[in-house]
């Protein structure tokens, strides 16, 4: 079974571009190597996980900002 502890670029864009490259080659009729497939899957996994983490952090920040809003200010008579 694969060793999944190798360092991979934690960048989803790069991972997607690796996958897109594999896809284009298969659709052209080329054969892939097991190594490049393993590398692309690892990149996809870590890129996706990093993107989800960034999304969660962003959501946290948004929440804090929302709590700081004084809603009464919106309803003050002009």
């Amino acid at each position: 079974m694969s060793n999944e502890t190798e360092a991979v670029p934690a960048d989803l864009t790069l991972a997607l571009s690796k996958v897109n490259d594999l896809r284009a080659r298969v659709l052209r009729g080329e054969k892939l190597t097991p190594e490049e497939c393993r590398e692309a899957l690892l990149a996809l996994r870590s890129g996706r996980s990093a993107a989800a983490k960034r999304g969660a952090e962003k959501a946290k920040i948004t929440k804090v900002k929302a709590e700081q809003l004084d809603l009464n200010a919106f309803f003050k008579p002009k």
Partner: protein, 316 residues
Amino acid sequence: MDLNPTFPSLIDSTILSSYLACPRQFYWAWINRLTVSQKSIHLHAGGAFAAAIETFRLSFYGAGSDYDTAMRDAIERFIKEWGDFPLMEDDNKSFYNMLGAINSYFTTYPPATDYVKPYMANGKPAVEFSFAIPTSVLHPETGEPILYGGRCDMIGDMNGTLMIVDEKTTSQLGNSWSKKWQMRGQFAGYVMAARRLGNLPVAGAMIRGVSILKAGYGHAEALVYFPEWQIERWWEHLQHNLRCMVDDWRHSQALMSGTRHSPAGFDQNFSDACAAYSSCQFLNLCMVEYPENWIDGYFIRNDWNPLARNPEEPKP
């Protein structure tokens, strides 16, 4: 588009479920073979995923490839099956998410140590078999027995007990996910086919769910057993409903007194089926007095092939 009503010669669990949900939906979808013009991402993604899992198993268990080679074979197959269908980047079942799901599946269930392995028949793994069983109900046009058919992912050997194995991708796994399979006719049909056609003592079905989440993937298993008496009851239920379908067909024909058919022969649900799964695709046809005038431009012909991995694939 000219409507060309034809009674299906083969019924599968999807067609039966459609009739049970709403006979009018069955009329549009399976008698007239209409569908909305956009292909279903769920069927396409699920079909490509199942094809990749099948290829992995054939390569690993059948050809004796190592893990990485089997995964390469699976990826190539997945890409070919997806073809030029849009990648649907923003969809839960996007090309990329489904590719990751294949990897996650075999990381969660490493094939070398998985306690469910394919049943080997003559040295080949029993993956993806299709079947067609004649029923006692006769086709209203040909007079031949109506067939019940389907396509099953795998017959698995679980420590000596044979089980149907089926993978389902979903957005959420939980208690309700596990419970929804206990009475699923789809699996009763697979079990019956394996027992009667393959003469295999299959005890039930194992459903492996893969949920596609933002931060990763979830996995769950559900085991269901089908004793022979339950299979018999399901078979009776199937044939009862086939008779109802044929009665509706004749009623629909009688209403037009000729070769044409009236939708009115097929009852409407007027309840939850109209709104299920973000509304029935034929809802608009039930909202107008003369539905035949509203088919062109909104619907295309559906080439559903129940024996194909992705049943939306045109028949060979």
